[in-house]
C-alpha cells in the first residue's frame, strides 16, 4: 500500500511539470504581453513611463528573451522561493493575492462535495433499490434537469428570485461589514451563513450526476451472485444491502471523487463570477482578460495541481477500499 502511494506520488512529478509547461504556453498565447499593453495604455493617457522600472521587470521575467528562458525563470522562482511572480495589474506579488482566495475556493468546493454526497448517496441507493418506482422516476427526472441546467443559469435564476420576491441581493460570501474585516469567529459564522447558497447552486449538477452514477453502479451489483449468497445466509435485507452491494458499488463511486473536486473548483469559477464570490474564479477571469499573465498562470497551475492531488486522493481511497487494487 505504501509502495503504491509512493509510486503514485512519483508519477505526479512529470504530470505537474507537464502541466506547468502547458500553463505557461497558455499564458503566453495571447499576442503581446502585459508590459506592452501597459505602455500602450499609459502612452494613451499621456502618463510618463518609468523606463528603468520597466527594464527591471523585463529583466526579472526575461521578457523579450526566448520563451523557454522565461519558462525556466518562472518555474525556478516557484520552486526556489515560492515566488509565483508579480501581478502587473494589482502591482502585488501573486502569492499575496491567491492564497486567501484559494482557501475560500477550497472551503466552498469541499462543503459542496459534502453536500453532494449527503444528498446523492441515499437518493442513489433509494433509486436503485426501488427501480421504476414513482420516487425513482421523480429523482431521475430531477437529476436530468439538474444535469442540463448550467450552474450559472441556476445562480442567475436564484438571484432573480431573491431580488424580485425577497428584495435582497444574493452574492458574496460575507455580509458587507465582514468583507474587509480580519478573520474572527464572527466572520467564520458569517461565512457559514452565506456559504449554503453557492453550495446548493454548485452542488446541483454534481448531485444529479452522482445520483445517476450511484444508481447505475448499484443496479449492476444488486443481482450479482454474491448478493444471493448473502441472502441465502439469512442476512436481513437492509444490512445485506449496506454491507454488500452498496459497499461494492462504492468503489466506482469513489473513483469519481478525484474528478468531482477539481470539477467543482473549476465549475465554481463561473458561478463565482455571477455571485461575485471572493474565490479564484472572478480574479482568474479578470487576470485573463487583462493579460495579467503571472496571476492567471498561477491560478491555472494551482487548480491543475489541485486536480492532480484530487485524483491521487481518490486513487488512494479506491486502493484502500478495493483489495483487488491494493494487492496487485
Amino acid at each position: 500500500m505504501l509502495q503504491y502511494i509512493a509510486r503514485r506520488l512519483l508519477l505526479m512529478i512529470p504530470t505537474i511539470i507537464a502541466i506547468s509547461i502547458v500553463t505557461f504556453i497558455i499564458i503566453q498565447l495571447p499576442p503581446g504581453d502585459y508590459l506592452t499593453s501597459l505602455v500602450a495604455s499609459m502612452a494613451e493617457t499621456g502618463e510618463e513611463v518609468d523606463q528603468s522600472a520597466l527594464e527591471t521587470l523585463k529583466a526579472r521575467y526575461g521578457l523579450g528573451q526566448p520563451i523557454y528562458v522565461q519558462y525556466f525563470k518562472w518555474a525556478w522562482g516557484i520552486i526556489s522561493r515560492g515566488d509565483f511572480g508579480q501581478s502587473f495589474e494589482w502591482n502585488k506579488p501573486v502569492t499575496d493575492l491567491i492564497w486567501e482566495r484559494l482557501a475560500l475556493t477550497f472551503v466552498l468546493s469541499l462543503s459542496t462535495l459534502l453536500f453532494t454526497w449527503i444528498v446523492a448517496f441515499p437518493i442513489g441507493i433509494y433509486s436503485a433499490v426501488k427501480q421504476y418506482s414513482l420516487g425513482d422516476y421523480v429523482f431521475t427526472f430531477l437529476g436530468f434537469i439538474g444535469l442540463a441546467t448550467p450552474n450559472f443559469l441556476l445562480a442567475l435564476v436564484l438571484m432573480y428570485i431573491s431580488f424580485k420576491y425577497f428584495n435582497q441581493s444574493v452574492g458574496g460570501l460575507f455580509s458587507p461589514q465582514f468583507v474587509e474585516a480580519p478573520w474572527s469567529w464572527a466572520k467564520v459564522a458569517d461565512l457559514m451563513k452565506h456559504l449554503w447558497i453557492p453550495m446548493v447552486i454548485l452542488g446541483t449538477s454534481g448531485t444529479a450526476g452522482l445520483i445517476r452514477i450511484m444508481r447505475a453502479n448499484l443496479l449492476d451489483e444488486l443481482h450479482k451472485p454474491y448478493v444471493v449468497t448473502a441472502r441465502a445466509k439469512g442476512l436481513p435485507e437492509r444490512r445485506l444491502l449496506l454491507k454488500y452491494p452498496v459497499r461494492v458499488a462504492l468503489n466506482p463511486f469513489v473513483s469519481t471523487v478525484g474528478w468531482t473536486l477539481p470539477g467543482l473548483v473549476s465549475g465554481s469559477a463561473i458561478v463565482s463570477v455571477v455571485l461575485s464570490l471572493p474565490t479564484t474564479g472572478p480574479l482568474l477571469l479578470r487576470a485573463l482578460m487583462s493579460q495579467d499573465m503571472y496571476l492567471a498562470g498561477s491560478f491555472i497551475l494551482m487548480l491543475s495541481v489541485l486536480t492532480v492531488i484530487g485524483t491521487l486522493i481518490s486513487d488512494i481511497l479506491l486502493a484502500w477500499l478495493d483489495p483487488r487494487i491494493r494487492y496487485q
Partner: protein, 383 residues
C-alpha cells in the same frame, strides 16, 4: 451451458414460425435497435425535440420574424407581448392574429421608463408574411417569414426586447443555429481525433497505446474550465466572428476527444478479443476488411450514442464561455452570447425575459441527453 435462448426456431419445430418471429430473425441490428429504442418513451420525446431544434436551426432566417441585429431605441427592454387571435371590434368578432402596441409610462418616483400594453393600438400579424429580405442559407433570396407584423415597422416582441430593443425571439432562433452547430462541429472534430487516436491505440496496442493513454490521462488531469478560460482569452479579440467560432470549437474538442477516444479504444480492445474477429482473420480477411466489415458495425451504434451524449456538454461549455465573454462575441448570436446580457442582477430584474435563452439551453441539453440515453440502451440489441 448456454442452450436456453428466447428465440428458437429449429429443425425440429416443423410448424412455420409466426410472422412476427420471422421479422425478428431477419431484422438487422438497426431494426432491432429501433425496436428497442421505441420502447423508451423519454428517448422518443428527446429525439423528436432534438429533431425540431435542428430543424429550427436549419430554417432560422425563415422562422425569425426579423433581423436579429435590427435595433430600435424606442423599444429598449420592451416586455413580451401576447399574440391575440380573437379580435372583438365594434363590427363583431374577427379571428386573426394581432398584437397590441406599447405605451411608455414614466415612473416619476423611480425615474424609470416602463412599458404598458396599449390596447388602442392593434398591429395585425400574419403567417407567411413578407418582411425583411434575407438569403436562406446565404443562397436563396427570400422575403417570406413564418410570422410577422403586416406592417414591417410595427413593433412585435413576442419574447420581449433587449437593451438595444432587438427582438429576443429572432435572436433566440438565430442563436439556435450557432449553439446547436457548435456542438455538432465540436463533436465532429473530437470524433475525428478520438476515432483516429483511440483506434490506433486500441488496434495496435503496445507502446503506442501506452503513449496515447498517457496523453489522454494528462489532458484529463487539467481542469477544464480554467483551461478553456485560458485558451478562450488567448483568442485575439480582432479575429473575425467565423474564426472565433472555429477557435472555440477547437478548444472544446481538445478536451472532448479524450472521452470518445476512450470509448473507441475500449470497444476496439474488447472486440479484438472476440472469437468472431479471430474467425474473420482465419477466413483470410484482410486487416482493413476485418476492421470495416466485422468490427466497425459492432461499435458504430455505441459511438453514435456517445456522440449524442457529448453534444450537450459542448453546448453547455460554449454557453458558459460566451456567457463570460471569452467565447463567441457579438455580433455573433448564440445562446451564451444572449445570456451575457443577463449577467447582472439589475438587468435580469428589469427584464427577466433575458433569461429565456437559458430555457432553450436546458431544453436542448435535456432532449439530447434523453436521446443519447435511449440510444445507449438500444446500442447493443444483442445483450
Amino acid at each position: 451451458m448456454t442452450e436456453a435462448r428466447p428465440l428458437t426456431p429449429g429443425i425440429a419445430v416443423e410448424e412455420p414460425a409466426q410472422e412476427t418471429e420471422i421479422n425478428l430473425y431477419i431484422a438487422s441490428q438497426w431494426q432491432l435497435m429501433w425496436w428497442r429504442f421505441r420502447r423508451h418513451k423519454l428517448a422518443l420525446i428527446g429525439g423528436t425535440v432534438t429533431l425540431i431544434i435542428y430543424l429550427i436551426a436549419l430554417f432560422v432566417e425563415f422562422l425569425a420574424p426579423t433581423d436579429p441585429n435590427a435595433y430600435s431605441v424606442r423599444y429598449t427592454y420592451a416586455p413580451p407581448q401576447r399574440l391575440h387571435f380573437i379580435d372583438r371590434t365594434d363590427k363583431g368578432i374577427r379571428i386573426h392574429p394581432y398584437v397590441y402596441g406599447y405605451k411608455v409610462k414614466v415612473d416619476k418616483v423611480a425615474l424609470r421608463r416602463t412599458f404598458v400594453i396599449d390596447k388602442t393600438k392593434k398591429y395585425p400579424v400574419r403567417f407567411f408574411v413578407k418582411g425583411t429580405p434575407y438569403k436562406l442559407w446565404g443562397l436563396i433570396e427570400m422575403k417570406t417569414h413564418l410570422i410577422g407584423p403586416v406592417d414591417p415597422e410595427a413593433p412585435m416582441y413576442l419574447l420581449g426586447a433587449d437593451r438595444m430593443g432587438r427582438d429576443m425571439l429572432s435572436r433566440m432562433i438565430y442563436g439556435t443555429r450557432v449553439s446547436m452547430s457548435i456542438g455538432l462541429v465540436g463533436v465532429a472534430l473530437s470524433l475525428i481525433l478520438g476515432i483516429l487516436l483511440g483506434g490506433i491505440s486500441g488496434y495496435y496496442g503496445g507502446s503506442i497505446d501506452t503513449l496515447i493513454q498517457r496523453i489522454i490521462e494528462f489532458l484529463r488531469s487539467i481542469p477544464t474550465i480554467p483551461l478553456w478560460l485560458g485558451l478562450g482569452a488567448a483568442l485575439p479579440p480582432n479575429w473575425p466572428p467565423l474564426r472565433v467560432y472555429f477557435g472555440i470549437t477547437v478548444i472544446l474538442s481538445l478536451i472532448g476527444w479524450t472521452g470518445l477516444a476512450r470509448v473507441v479504444r475500449g470497444r476496439f480492445l474488447s472486440l479484438r478479443e472476440e472469437d468472431f474477429v479471430l474467425a474473420a482473420r482465419l477466413d483470410g480477411s484482410s486487416e482493413l476488411r476485418i476492421i470495416l466489415r466485422h468490427m466497425v458495425p459492432s461499435f458504430l451504434s455505441h459511438i453514435i450514442a456517445s456522440i449524442t451524449l457529448s453534444i450537450p456538454s459542448m453546448i453547455l461549455s460554449e454557453t458558459a464561455l460566451s456567457f463570460l465573454g471569452l467565447g463567441l462575441r457579438p455580433p455573433v448570436v448564440s445562446w451564451g452570447v444572449l445570456l451575457q446580457e443577463a449577467q447582472n442582477v439589475r438587468s435580469v430584474a428589469t427584464a427577466p425575459w433575458l433569461l429565456i435563452p437559458g430555457i432553450a439551453v436546458v431544453v436542448a441539453v435535456l432532449a439530447l441527453n434523453f436521446l443519447g440515453d435511449g440510444l445507449r440502451d438500444a446500442a447493443d440489441p444483442y445483450a
